[in-house]
Amino acid sequence: MSLQDNIQYKIIKRVFILTILIIGVFFLVFPEPMPYIYGIIFGATINVLNFRLMSLTLEKAVGMSNNKIMPYVVGNYMVRYLIYGIVLTISAIADYINFYSTVLGIFMVKTIIISDTFYDIIKGKKTSKMQN
């Protein structure tokens, strides 16, 4: 897995690159792309910030005593869940933000983590071609 070292930085960098690529596709596909672009930027930004918040929570939780971990982690999860709820509600209500592209942005970190295997395969092929 190429995400083993400095994962937070790598994931945030890849989310940024993938968001830029998807924005480019939106520009090509849709005649009025701005609501879609606002949506994906909104969703991806909140997802990255929540991922960072989760990382800070877990790093702190590992050093805590065993009976305090569960309420701390679950409480923080509920806060992040509430943030996602506010973001999705705003994008569902506001006309200038597309709801479905916000949902796509919210799943961006998961997409990056799952696609890490494919990224490694592609990168491995490129490396072997260069070696040959």
């Binding site: 994962i7 991922f51 989760m54 590992v62 971990i69 569960m70 999860y77 869940y81 799943f107 998961k110």
Partner: protein
């Protein structure tokens, strides 16, 4: 007996469906807490592997968290986008 307005009936059922979909948000929270507890135990047993344990846990929990968001998305769609009302 007064008849029920079909639109009101659909909206009511959508609200019940949204409430049921929100149950999906409970599981990942409990799972995350449990996983963090086990990670703390693992760090206690093997402190030199702390970096690896935290890294693996963060990746796993980021994926696990999205399963709760599926339910949230369904609930928001039922409440605000109202696809069943548009079909009617």
């Amino acid at each position: 007996m007064p008849s029920i307005d079909p639109k009101a009936f659909i909206l009511g059922c959508s609200a019940i469906g949204a409430g049921l979909a929100m149950i999906a948000g409970i599981g990942p929270g409990i799972g995350q807490g449990y996983a963090a507890g086990k990670a703390a135990e693992a760090v206690g047993r093997q402190p030199e592997a702390q970096g690896d344990i935290i890294r693996t846990m963060i990746l796993g929990q980021a994926v696990a968290e999205t399963t709760g968001i599926y339910g949230l998305v369904i609930a928001i769609i039922l409440l605000f986008v109202r696809p069943l009302l548009k079909a009617f």
